[in-house]
Symmetry: C2
Subunit: 531 residues, 2 copies
């Protein structure tokens, strides 16, 4: 079958470009505050089921491919995305309101992730091969030959995030890691950037065809909530990836748990990413810490899941000047267009609900008025005390956007109580000197570690490096599964399970487990790593 010609508003059920049979909708340009003329149409439940059926049919052939073939596919996706050139950049800028430089960087990150997984597949050791050869003479019983590796779960449904129209969307980390694992992907596009989604979906379909992947290895669907939940409920679906709101993630989790056969949902939902600042760190470097904090709060109009929404400051003689440095930076920050009108409204509503409370003070806001025509977000930093923070659980909930609440604590005990009261987080950051950690009665690193998947010593959480050592995950409700990461090579481990092969003839074993180690991977043989 030939690749279809690029069409901005298509769904892809496997290789087939189809017009959705459900409701139609228009894309929206937040920076212009206007709907675009392109019409998109959601798929019907029947069309969604066709995509899953195709994925289920493709699974067997796809899972059996040589890892290098899957790697070629991932590389080809990166190349096809690159080949979209400025069309993709312009469309993503138009639909997200994010600046060109940011989108361009995000495209690089997206291609980098795909190529990282291709490299991982070619190296091959990620399958965690373990071999215990037969011991026919063991007493009192012989040991059979046992070999174990990780195998793909099956078709995966992925939901795109609004805030990263490329890196956490159609060809983002969830898709890349699921495809790398050997799982076909049915992608549910985010309605904030449907054109961007269709372009990237088309690129994946082209790459799949060019590299000879089975039809159904990837589908791109525009879909309403009911149809989307139907995807999660489909018996052939084996796992779900999601990045978005807590309400959205929990709704999918409920659907997945209520299936006759429950499946894992990897939902990244919400976090306030606490930053704990001790006096020693301020004494050492007040200006740098303060300016860095302000910059992190407003980065990307605060639309990062790792945005520092809560700062805990242990009071000291430097507190006032530190906060004033933050305030100066915040006042100087220009308002900027947010991803969509809904997010912008929620942001102002969230800030407003907090700022009117007794005991909450406005430390600073951006001095320039925001344009509501361009759905712009204006930075706001508030302050309060520990007793007030501890008395109102609402103060620890995420407000998605460029705001942060600084809690000034009078004692370490008060500060520890504040941190202990928090729910699970993606990140937790500590500014302190080794000396004051040594003298403290609180084990701050350990306390923060119980709350988050990534602990930073200094620095700011808003950069999420794509690498082997990244954990982008954390205890509930930051994610639904603290045992996982959605960024970095570890993300592939969400879409696999171990299978043991007992007493197999060598030729019938998967390559990764054959005696000659034809893939040349690291393997655990009777507890020893060998290659």
């Amino acid at each position: 079958m030939q690749a279809t010609q690029p069409q901005l508003n298509m769904n892809f059920i496997g290789y087939e470009a189809v017009t959705g049979q459900g409701d139609s909708f228009q894309s929206f340009a937040p920076a212009r505050n206007e709907a675009l003329t392109d019409e998109f149409a959601n798929v019907s439940a029947e069309q969604a089921n066709q995509a899953v059926d195709k994925a289920a049919a493709a699974f067997s052939a796809y899972a059996k491919l040589h890892p290098a073939q899957r790697a070629d596919f991932l590389d080809a996706i990166a190349a096809e995305i690159e080949a979209l050139g400025d069309d993709l950049i312009e469309r993503a800028v138009l639909e997200s309101g994010l600046p060109t430089g940011r989108i361009s960087g995000e495209r690089g990150r997206t291609m980098g992730q795909l190529r990282m997984f291709a490299t991982l597949l070619r190296e091959g050791s990620w399958v965690d091969a373990r071999i215990n050869p037969a011991l026919p003479d063991r007493q009192p019983l012989p040991r059979p030959d046992l070999r174990r590796m990780l195998v793909p779960l099956g078709p995966v449904v992925v939901f795109g995030a609004s805030n990263f129209p490329l890196a956490f969307s159609v060809a983002g980390g969830d898709t890349a890691s699921a495809l790398a694992a050997g799982c076909p992907v049915i992608f549910k596009a985010h309605p904030s950037h449907p054109g961007t989604s269709s372009l990237v979906g088309q690129a994946i379909v082209e790459a799949a065809q060019k590299t000879g992947m089975p039809d159904g290895v990837f589908s791109l669907l525009h879909a309403d909530n009911d149809v989307a939940q139907g995807l999660v409920a489909h018996p052939a679906v084996r796992a779900v990836g999601f990045t978005g709101s807590r309400r959205g993630g929990l709704a999918l989790l409920r659907v997945a748990q209520e299936r006759p056969e429950p499946i894992p949902v990897y939902a990244e939902m919400s976090a306030v990413n606490p930053v704990v600042i001790m006096p020693g760190a301020i004494q050492e470097n007040a200006v740098k810490v303060a300016e860095g904090l302000a910059a992190s709060v407003v980065l990307g109009v605060g639309q990062f899941c790792t945005n520092p929404g809560l700062v805990f400051l242990l009071d000291s003689p430097q507190t006032d000047s530190f906060l004033e440095t933050v305030a100066v930076k915040i006042r100087a920050s220009a308002p900027a267009t947010m991803l969509n009108a809904g997010i912008c409204q929620s942001y102002y509503k969230g800030v407003q609900q907090i700022r009117v409370l007794p005991g909450i003070h406005v430390l600073a806001e951006g001095e320039t008025e925001a344009s509501h025509d361009r759905t712009e977000g204006r930075a706001t930093v508030l302050t309060t005390t520990a007793p007030l923070f501890l008395s109102n659980p609402d103060l620890s909930h995420e407000i998605f956007g460029p705001s942060s609440l600084v809690v000034v604590c009078q004692t370490e005990a008060e500060l520890a109580d504040c941190v202990q009261s928090l729910e699970g987080q993606l990140t937790a950051t500590l500014f302190a000197t080794p000396d004051e950690l040594h003298q403290s009665s609180v084990d701050w690193i350990e306390l923060l570690q119980t709350k988050a998947g990534r602990v930073l010593f200094g620095g700011y959480p808003t950069g999420v490096e794509v690498c082997e050592a990244m954990t982008h995950g954390g205890p509930f409700p930051a994610t639904t599964d603290s045992r996982t990461t959605s960024v970095g090579t570890g993300a592939i481990l969400r879409f696999v399970r171990p299978v043991t092969y007992q007493s197999f003839p060598d030729a019938l074993l998967p390559l990764a487990l054959q005696n000659a180690n034809p893939l040349g991977i690291w393997r655990n043989v009777d507890g020893k790593m060998t290659k």
Copy 2:
């Protein structure tokens, strides 16, 4: 605090031996069909909460121990169990009705598991350390130093199984792997062997005290269902291990999912462990295959989670003589005492419900009448056809005990339909020659692999080796989480999550991640394995 004197009927809330404040009950000797005189008392909800509070308080200190100290603790548990000598063997035989040789072997397996995890901890590489050193000069942005390893989840509640009073009970694989991971354990004893449980609980407490573990690292509780579910609901509990019935496992899963903060439940629940036998395998070795099958069905009075409850036979001229060989062995098998009266009744009820159905034939049963006084189970093997099997889903449900249903299929397609219709399994076994696999239009290995955590080529599933390469797990409802194993070193991975440390001074990092690699473990540095 000194260790308390051994008392058969105690609960242990950390180091404290306490009498339960709930209902009391007696232990039962199935082989004598009589209650024993010892009185046990369940803990109250308040006492159960005290155990969790102690575990939560112990977690921080326990998780921070040098891995070698946790290894010493595990070795000490094995030594204390050994020191219980014949008292333990006798009590376990009395309460389980299992023969002395079997219990003795199971004790060896239990100590072996504990020592295996001690070895794993001393070697240390299981923490999957990954390091991406800082790249301060990288363009366009520097990379911070990122280091990641697995850390323990927190307190774990473990439920003992009835069918392995030692190896899947108080000091069994779930307890050993959770303690190895760095998680305190609150153990809920199985009421079928309360005296055995108290003895082993006492041994763990002794070992903990002798090796200087924090009070609360382990508790042993006798508890009713309400109190047990309360343990799962307790906010400080972070994971649950369970081996038992589907109803029991699903009840705990529901409690865990309905918590404000859901937690993972690792429940091993039910399996029929299909065995697929192709004509070529029978032609090669009919007698050995048939006798092995019969032996596997009756092993341990069929009370293994890996008991082969379903056999799919592709019809051939050898079918009748093959089945007759099975029948001869089954008829010659002696009835034997089952674990408790409830299990024995359920077994006969389950067999009876099936054998009266039209189209079900009794191939053979043990010729000796079973003694109902000794709650003995008598082996039964039934046969049926593929159409009948496919028309009645009840035929694929587990009957716990020494029975098996042989489904004689007329075509490979029929056989494939039967296998495809099955739920998830712990094991799936294939008897075939490489030649007939090569000629078949069905990829049998792949089909079986989608259904089970362990696939056997020949052999029988009833032996579960404790080693690196074992997967004792499988797709739902064999377990609640197909991504895990409850046997072998991989079991430790159920009780950990990754944490990334960003830009940490070397001295503040965990030992596993420090530059000098003081633990001498294998680590992934920028994608390369190094030591």
